[in-house]
């Protein structure tokens, strides 16, 4: 049974954030280690992959390739060392930074598939550098009284993803054509499944934070924060729209391909129908003359139907677009109320 929740140790979360933030805008990645306990994936340790190997170009869409030689050597060695000092040495996925939620690209999917093959519980933890910047002055580790909090897209943006069953099934079949997609009921909505992420502090740390909040009511440790009043809208939206531009262009391109395929297909099918009718007429004539009928399924040999272009790109681009749109939607919902508030002088 696979896990349904992800629980991160706060120190690990901070480590990830620090690594990603500091190396922005280049994309970085690292290894996650942990255990699964009662349907919960507990991430207890993380270490960064070597920068030169994992350091992708932020402008390139390809993301980064984790299966480089350097990483392949570094990773097991590091795990061995950690094992010696009694750290969980069970690989449970990897984390990586991203900009504006651009995670739907072939390399991420590919890597994730490889990880999940080894360990079905593997996840990818995505830390969105740009998404977190907007409200970066929000305390990322503000915790509720219980010591647990779920992260939100705005603000501290750490999310866990795993490939869906449907996707894996399609992948197994090796064909990304429309029929397979329909058969497996795979849409762009469920290429990746998001898992809820919890950040867990040790009880002592929770206690300390609580105490500090009591002692200094105006400090950042307190519950209230003025940063919630930030109404800067444009920069974030601009970036997102620009990202959408890119995706839309990609989508156009992909659609063009598919369009072409469709035209070819109709043309071929028209030819086949023509041929079949001709054959039928011929057979009718032969029947009259008392000769044996010619086979009617010869068209399979005579005509070659064009192969359908892979729908994987389309899936990913659609998912990416969806992602962007939902980010804007959520952001808009939050900002809208703020704007109304400022207008009505409610604060």
């Amino acid at each position: 049974m696979t896990t349904t929740r992800v629980c991160i140790d706060s120190s690990v979360a901070l480590k990830i954030v620090r690594h990603c933030q500091e190396s922005a805008p280049s994309i970085v990645a690292g290894q996650l280690l942990g255990l699964d306990v009662d349907g919960e994936l507990r991430i207890s340790h993380a270490f960064a992959f070597p920068q030169n190997a994992a350091g992708g170009n932020p402008n390139s869409d390809d993301g980064l390739s984790l299966r480089l030689k350097a990483v392949a050597k570094y990773q097991p060695e590091m795990i061995d060392h950690l094992k010696e000092v009694n750290v969980d040495s069970n690989s449970v996925g990897w984390y990586q930074s991203t900009v504006l939620g651009r995670i739907y690209n072939a390399s991420v999917i590919e890597n994730l598939a490889v990880f999940q093959e080894k360990n079905p519980d593997s996840v990818v933890l995505v830390y969105d550098v740009a998404g977190s910047e907007v409200v970066s002055d929000t305390d990322p580790s503000s915790t509720g009284p219980q010591g647990h909090t779920t992260t939100t897209p705005s603000g501290f943006n750490l999310r866990a993803f795993r490939l869906s069953e449907e996707y894996l099934n399609v992948r197994k079949s090796g064909k990304f054509d429309t029929a397979t997609l329909t058969e497996n009921n795979l849409t762009y909505h469920d290429v990746l499944v998001e898992l809820p992420v919890e950040i867990k502090n040790s009880n002592l740390a929770t206690l300390l934070l609580y105490q500090l909040g009591q002692q200094y009511p105006n400090s950042p440790f307190a519950e209230s924060s003025f940063s919630n009043l930030n109404v800067s809208v444009d920069p974030f939206l601009e970036k997102n729209i620009e990202a959408i531009f890119d995706s839309v262009d990609d989508f156009h391109y992909d659609q063009g391909n598919y369009n072409y395929y469709q035209r070819q297909m109709t043309r071929e099918q028209a030819k086949i129908t023509q041929w079949q009718q001709k054959r039928k007429a011929e057979n009718a004539a032969r029947e009259k003359d008392g000769r044996p009928a010619l086979p009617t399924d010869e068209w399979k040999r005579l005509f070659k139907l064009p192969t359908e272009p892979s729908r994987q790109d389309n899936l990913l681009i659609s998912a990416q677009l969806n992602e962007h749109c939902s980010v804007i939607e959520e952001f808009g919902a939050a900002v809208n109320s703020k704007l109304f508030a400022t207008q009505g002088g409610l604060l």
Binding site: T178, V233, D234, L237, E238, I241, E242, I244, F245, V248, D249, F251, H252, Q255, G256, Y258, N259, Y260, Q262, R263, M265, T266
Partner: protein, 826 residues
């Protein structure tokens, strides 16, 4: 060994080629004396117009020999002793080679028979191939009809094949390779036998086709050519006694018979390798004094001119001395022709002369027609001249000296033209057109006074008048309208030609001439009405070059007339191309392997259009167009996509990226700095920079051009200023603007009104205060712009999706609602 003997026998082609070198000089001298078969053959050759056509040099020599004359002549000569020896050896080779081939054929056929017996088709295939190869060699060497052995073999083979084909079981039994060979042979035999159908028919009708021939040939050793088609009968005595006549100067006068013989020899050796052309020229020159009748003179001169022209080669032009001699000869010929214009006509359409020595028979009106073409001669002279200029360094005095000869050439052209006009039919204007095209070629790119001068010199040395281009009067030659009339006259003849090349050339030259003389609208209208732009892409390169030249000249003309937008448009395509030089025929592609043909396309230097001036004009026009345009569009989101001239933008970008800009050095620097100044609204600096360009002095009226440019800079400066800075103003007084750009207030008002009318500027003119009131529109934020752009994109996307759903076609609700249902869901 002389190739003339070997010609029939050599089994090895390459060796015969080598032999040629040895035999060249010998045969050359021998021919002059040893020819003695009379008029019949001379006849053919004289009428043969091939002297004007391109003789194909590369024809295999064997073929020529088989034509037979050269060889036969030589064989009959008894004067040269050693040639007899050669004759013998030559014949031996003939036999052995032929015999060898025959033996080979026989051997092959025997092997094929063997193969047939054991049904070994692989063997048969191999042998059949060998047989055919041998046969091929046999035919190549022209031993005559296919030998009996061969015919017999292929006929039998076919019969055998047919019997085999009936034996279906037998075929099935064959193994794979054997049956494959069988099929191949079957196909080849059928194909092959078709070629020898006649011979096979003869063979099967019982006659021994080539057998008799063979036998006879063998018996006929002393006269191996007896069976030849081109046999020449009655070899006469050597004509040594003819050399007794001695002229005044003590030179031997050549008898008419010998003269024509020499002419014939020269004619025959034309286009062949290893002929000593200089020697031939000398021979012909020697003939001149002995030519007594008009007919003889004409014959010798025509031959002399073309032989002399042959001295040039593809890669080198005729030497100037030789060229001048050719022109001299040609003029002499023309003088003779002009003197005897009532009795002799040299014309291309003339019938062949029956008796070469006696000359042509007179027509009813007493005119004797001689086949030949003066037009072709003068065309070749012209070509040689162009070639000489092409190969010369244009920056030397020699080039200029050489250029002076053009007047002579032009005069000759004029004479030829008048002669042709006189001689040829009214209706048949082709010859006239050929000359006129040459004349137009010499004139169209020249300014009026140069044309007048050329004409004056040309007509000065010529008597008579021409219908197509009437003799100009004194007054004409000083007037500025004469050249235009002249070109129009010439072109009007050319327009009537059925050949499109003439028409196109005339049209382009005509337009070019108009453009050169600042008649922009006339030139443009003609250019557009010709619809050449749609067909020029398929024309020959020279015409394309002329087209480009005309287009560019049109652009320059527009610029001189102050029509900046038109100039920019015309020049845009050609000037933006990295292959500008190639397009204008003024240079070769940079890294391409330039062949001789490519080099010939390059125009001689004096016809070139100055490229620097061209660039300067183009950049200036681009500057005046692009800068206001950039200012007007710099805010919009897709500013980068809207570009008038990419080349100019690129240069401007490059200029902007420079860390340090020194004072302008070349034309481009000047223009780029002027562009920057204009962008700031500093039109005076821009004017100074543009006017400082030295190359304007190449234009006919530099001061007027500068004044025009200043004017344009003021206007475009004003527009640029308004575009750039309007949003900083709420109102702007027209008089201030007029002061800033030193334009009359009325003009400023007009410009501003136009801008407002075209919605380039948001605002209105206030008549009372005489100022512009700007309406400050709410500026879109970047986010809003993005959102608008996105909505556009998404609409496109939606449309496309709809199409996808409709199955790849534009979805149309009205007509194909059912289609949608049939398509699968995406």
């Amino acid at each position: 060994m002389s190739r003339f003997f070997a010609g029939g026998s050599d089994s090895d082609d390459s060796s015969s080629d080598e032999d040629l070198y040895g035999s060249g000089s010998e045969s050359g001298s021998d021919f002059s004396q040893d020819e003695q078969d009379g008029g019949d053959d001379n006849d053919d050759d004289m009428s043969d117009d091939s002297m004007f056509a391109d003789d194909s040099d590369d024809d295999s020599d064997d073929d020529e020999d088989l034509g037979g004359k050269g060889a036969s002549y030589f064989l009959k000569s008894s004067t040269v002793a050693d040639s007899d020896d050669e004759e013998d050896t030559g014949k031996k080779t003939v036999l052995s080679a032929k015999d060898k081939l025959l033996a080979e054929l026989a051997n092959c056929s025997k092997l094929i028979d063997n193969g047939k017996r054991i049904n070994d088709w692989v063997l048969i295939q191999g042998e059949f191939d060998k047989l055919n190869k041998a046969m091929e060699r046999f035919t190549k060497q022209r031993h005559g009809l296919p030998p009996k052995v061969y015919i017999q073999c292929i006929v039998e083979l076919e019969e055998f094949l047919n019997t085999q084909l009936e034996d279906k079981a037998g075929i099935k039994k064959m193994n794979a390779s054997n049956s494959r060979a069988f099929n191949t042979v079957k196909q080849r035999v059928r194909k092959n036998n078709k070629e020898y159908e006649a011979a096979i028919a003869k063979y099967s009708s019982g006659g021994d086709v080539a057998e008799e021939e063979e036998e006879e040939n063998k018996e006929d050793k002393p006269k191996p050519r007896a069976k030849d088609e081109f046999v020449l009968t009655a070899p006469s005595q050597a004509s040594n006694e003819e050399f007794t006549t001695v002229g005044k100067a003590g030179k031997a006068l050549v008898s008419p018979t010998d003269m024509f013989k020499t002419l014939k020899t020269v004619l025959e050796s034309r286009g062949k390798k290893n002929t000593d052309r200089e020697d031939q020229v000398r021979q012909l020159e020697n003939l001149l004094p002995s030519a007594s009748t008009v007919y003889q003179k004409i014959s010798v001169y025509t031959m002399l001119v073309s032989t002399r022209l042959d001295l040039s080669s593809a890669s080198a032009a005729l030497a100037p001395e030789n060229w001048l001699k050719v022109v001299g000869d040609l003029n002499d010929l023309l003088s003779i022709l002009e003197e005897n214009i009532d009795t002799y006509h040299v014309i291309e359409t003339a019938p062949e002369i029956e008796d070469v020595e006696k000359g042509p028979v007179a027509r009813e009106d007493g005119v004797k027609l001689i086949p030949g073409s003066v037009a072709s001669l003068v065309e070749r002279v012209d070509d040689e001249f162009t070639k000489a200029l092409q190969f010369m360094d244009p920056h030397t005095t020699e080039y200029v000296d050489r250029l002076r000869d053009e007047t002579k050439l032009y005069q000759t052209l004029l004479r030829v033209q008048m002669y042709i006009e006189h001689v040829s039919d009214e209706k048949d204007t082709l010859g006239l057109a050929r000359i006129l095209v040459r004349r137009v070629d010499h004139l169209y790119f020249k300014p009026n006074n140069v044309i007048n001068m050329t004409e004056q010199i040309a007509w000065g040395g010529v008597k008579g008048d021409s219908k197509a281009t009437p003799r100009p009067t004194e007054k004409d030659l000083t007037s500025s309208t004469y050249p235009t009339t002249l070109i129009s006259n010439m072109c009007s003849v050319l327009y009537k030609q059925s050949n499109t090349v003439f028409r196109t050339k005339a049209m382009l030259a005509h337009v070019y001439h108009y453009a050169l003389n600042d008649e922009y609208y006339k030139a443009r209208d003609m250019f557009l009405m010709s619809h050449l732009q749609s067909s020029i892409a398929s024309a020959e390169p020279q015409l394309q070059v002329l087209f480009n030249r005309t287009l560019v000249q049109l652009g320059l003309c527009a610029f001189r007339s102050g029509l900046i937008a038109e100039a920019q448009q015309s020049l845009q395509e050609v000037c933006s191309s990295p292959r500008l030089k190639e397009l204008l025929g003024q240079g070769l592609a940079k890294y391409a392997q330039a062949g001789v043909v490519d080099k010939q396309r390059v125009l001689p230097f004096h016809t070139h259009i100055n490229l620097e001036l061209l660039e300067c004009v183009f950049l200036c026009s681009s500057l005046l167009m692009e800068i206001p345009f950039m200012a007007a569009h710099n805010t919009s989101i897709d500013a980068k996509k809207k570009v008038i001239s990419k080349l100019f933008r690129r240069m401007l970008d490059y200029h902007e990226r420079q860390v340090f800009c020194g004072p302008p050095e070349n034309t481009r620097d000047h223009i780029m700095q002027a562009a920057k100044a204009l962008q700031r609204g500093d039109w005076e600096a821009a004017r100074d920079l543009v006017c400082a360009i030295k190359i304007w002095s190449l234009l006919p009226n530099p001061e007027a051009i500068k004044a025009m440019l200043t004017d344009k800079l003021q206007i475009e400066g004003l527009r640029t200023y308004l575009f750039t800075y309007w949003n900083h103003y709420s109102t702007l007084s027209l008089s201030t603007l007029a002061d800033m750009f030193q334009l009359p207030v009325k003009d400023v008002a007009a410009i501003v009104a136009k801008m407002i009318a075209q919605e380039e500027l948001p605002g209105s003119l206030d008549q009372k205060t005489n100022s512009v009131v700007f309406t400050q529109a709410v500026q879109q934020t970047k986010l809003q712009q993005l959102a608008v752009a996105l909505s556009d994109k998404v609409i496109q996307l939606a449309e496309r999706n709809e199409r996808l759903v409709a199955g790849g076609y534009q979805f149309d609700k009205m007509t194909q609602p059912q289609k949608r249902k049939t398509q699968r869901a995406r």
